[in-house]
């Protein structure tokens, strides 16, 4: 209990001290982009967005985000294919990635079902659409905090 209180206080202090974390959203649905943009802004993050995997990758090179949220089903190139590309790029191999999709339920999501390249480790987190705002924000905070250690 007291630990929670301390943690909240620490976060509040951290907010003032730290610069805004950059979060990149990649989704072909403009409504998802609008939604997550407003959610992230309201919670003190700086959102960037792209509607295709390719633009997303270029934007990532440009802004070097602290976290990338990506949808799976997109025209041309799927989010998972972009994820594999990011993991294989030394520059981004450690960047946290959050997969957001309506395809599978959270407990059922099996990354290996889609990608069987053993050299690629699974994404940091999978969140099911429609998102729960609190849970999403909590996940974004956790993944962008400097204490977040990669698996």
């Amino acid at each position: 209990m007291s630990f929670c209180l301390l943690w909240v206080i620490w976060i509040k202090i951290g907010r003032i001290w730290m610069t805004e974390k950059k979060v990149l959203i990649i989704d072909d649905e403009p409504d998802v982009i609008s939604y997550l943009t407003v959610v992230l802004e309201s919670n003190g993050f700086r959102p960037y967005s792209a509607t295709t995997a390719e633009n997303g990758f270029n934007l990532a090179v440009e802004v070097e985000p602290d976290l990338i949220c990506v949808d799976i089903m997109m025209p041309q190139e799927s989010g998972l294919s972009l994820f594999v590309k990011l993991r294989r790029e030394s520059k981004f191999s450690d960047i946290p990635v959050l997969i957001i999709s309506g395809l599978e339920q959270e407990q059922d999501f099996d990354f290996r079902k889609f990608v069987d390249s053993e050299d690629v480790s699974p994404p940091d987190l999978y969140i099911e659409k429609p998102i729960k705002v609190e849970r999403f924000i909590e996940a974004v905070r956790k993944l962008t905090s400097s204490t977040h250690v990669k698996k």
Binding site: D31, V32, Y35, V38, M74, P75, Q76, E128, P130
Partner: protein, 500 residues
């Protein structure tokens, strides 16, 4: 037939010279008696064997001074219902089927021909000549044939020209019931009149074997599916008196087939529900997003956010409407209404419909010319829907690719008994995980535009035709969708439809 019978004296028989009184020498009759391919024995009125030939001795063993019933049957008294007795009384020739014992004590089956020997007209019969011939092989063959006919695991009936069943095997009687004096259509199909399209009638007419699939009704009133072969039972093609009908029961196979189709249908329903859930989740995300944004707009008194959120709400409500509409049209389970159509014309219709639209986008839509394709029983509306979906997908794939010049090609051809339609595009292609999801859950890669039901509906229509759909795709190169319809299945479906 005795093995040691030969015809080496045949030539001497033809060269026989009678003496001037027209009498042939005794040696000739003796020789004849010895050489005929029968067991010959002569008995007197007390059933003593007075003379027998070598064949007889070889077959029945010792006979001199013995009674015929002892030698033939190893009995100590005359046979019950003795035919020789009767012939001695009335002097008539008799033929009978007998069982006895040969010289090795083995069971013997033989046919006996009894002929009276009368010394002079009007006198009583003194001797009888008994000519017998072994029929054990014939008997065995008959038994085997009988066993085969009765026990073979298929239905066999023999019918005459009036379609009356004159023989039926055990298996048939067990399944279809009593056949005695009944017409084949009564027993096979519980009909009162001859079947239309009767294969037996064809065989009576042209004398050749006909194969067909039939549905009958067994004695318990249940449907029986069987594959029927009708063959002429006569060497004379111009005068066929009987037709033999042999059929294999495929009811169990049909049932399994039905179960598989049912299981597939259920699986498809499951996938559809999963796909529907995916679409609804996306719409929910949009609606919740709209609410969230409107909420923030109210909180901050920000008109821009209010407008943005409101638009999101409107957009996703409209999506709900169109999803439900598509879903209902998908869920409408209708059987394909097959008619004989030219596949090439169906393709031409699509080109007429989409050619202009594609051209305006800088995409070329063309039909690849090939050999002329024969008519096929298809549901023109259904196939039109399939082609529409595939072609509009192909056009979209070209539009989404960076290449300046897109090309969509439709082809229709026959190969290995399959009628095949292909729709290829030079568009962006698909990567592995999209391909994998293509037919399993209905999703769309077209963002807000698609409901993800097009391909699912396409697959459903193809399956209803007994066909399958396959896809080949290379990322960045393009995709090819193939609709494959086995013509045999199409024809079967068409025939089934006509019978209903």
């Amino acid at each position: 037939m005795s093995k040691n019978s030969t015809y080496k004296n045949k030539s001497s028989v033809t060269a026989i010279k009678a003496d001037k009184n027209g009498v042939v020498g005794d040696w000739f009759y003796r020789e004849l008696f010895e050489q005929v391919p029968f067991n010959m024995a002569i008995i007197d009125r007390d059933f003593n064997i007075v003379q027998a030939n070598k064949n007889f001795g070889d077959y029945f063993g010792r006979w001199k001074g013995r009674k015929c019933y002892k030698v033939y049957k190893n009995l100590d008294h005359p046979c019950v219902g003795c035919n020789a007795q009767l012939t001695f009384q009335d002097g008539r020739v008799r033929v009978s089927d007998e069982s006895g014992v040969d010289q090795h004590g083995q069971e013997a089956h033989y046919v006996v021909h009894l002929a009276p020997l009368k010394p002079h007209k009007g006198e009583q019969v003194k001797y009888i000549v008994e000519m017998s011939r072994d029929v054990i092989e014939t008997k065995n063959l008959q038994m085997e044939y009988q066993l085969l006919f009765e026990r073979v695991p298929c239905y066999i009936t023999v019918i005459d020209r009036n379609y009356k069943i004159i023989r039926a095997n055990e298996n048939f009687r067990d399944v279809f019931g009593d056949v005695h004096g009944k017409q084949c259509y009564e027993v096979y199909k519980k009909r009162k009149t001859k079947c239309p399209n009767c294969p037996a009638a064809k065989t009576f007419k042209d004398g050749i074997v006909h194969h067909s699939n039939q549905v009958g009704i067994n004695k318990d009133g249940e449907k029986a599916h069987y594959m029927l072969t009708t063959s002429p039972l006569s060497r004379d093609i111009n005068n066929i008196a009987h037709v033999i009908e042999i059929s294999t029961d495929i009811t169990a196979t049909k049932k399994l087939e039905k179960e598989v189709i049912e299981a597939e249908r259920l699986a498809a329903v499951g996938q559809t529900v999963a796909g529907l859930a995916h679409s609804i989740k996306n719409i929910l995300m949009g609606l919740e997003g709209g609410m969230y944004v409107v909420g923030r707009g109210l909180e901050k008194d920000n008109k821009k956010l209010l407008n943005q959120g409101w638009e999101m709400l409107e957009r996703n409500l409209n999506k709900t409407t169109s999803l439900v509409r598509d879903f209902l049209s998908f869920a409408k389970g209708r059987l394909p209404e097959l008619e004989m159509v030219k596949p090439g014309e169906l393709v031409k219709e699509i080109v007429d419909l989409y050619g202009k639209i594609a051209e305006d986008m800088g995409i070329e839509l063309a039909v690849e010319k090939g050999a002329r394709v024969k008519r096929a029983p298809l549901d023109p509306k259904g196939i039109h829907t399939c082609l529409t979906n595939l072609v509009s997908n192909a056009i979209d794939a070209c539009r989404m690719s960076e290449k300046s010049k897109g090309r969509v090609t439709i082809k229709v051809y026959d190969s290995n008994g399959n009628l095949t339609f292909t729709v290829s595009d030079s568009g962006m292609g698909m990567d592995y995980d999209i391909k994998k999801k293509l037919f399993t859950t209905f999703f769309t890669t077209k963002g807000g535009q698609g409901t993800g039901l097009g391909l699912l509906t396409t697959r459903k229509i193809i399956k209803e035709h007994g066909g399958k759909i396959s896809v080949q795709s290379q990322k960045g190169k393009g995709s090819t969708f193939k609709m494959i319809f086995p013509r045999k299945r199409l024809n079967d479906l068409y025939d089934d439809g006509k019978q209903k």
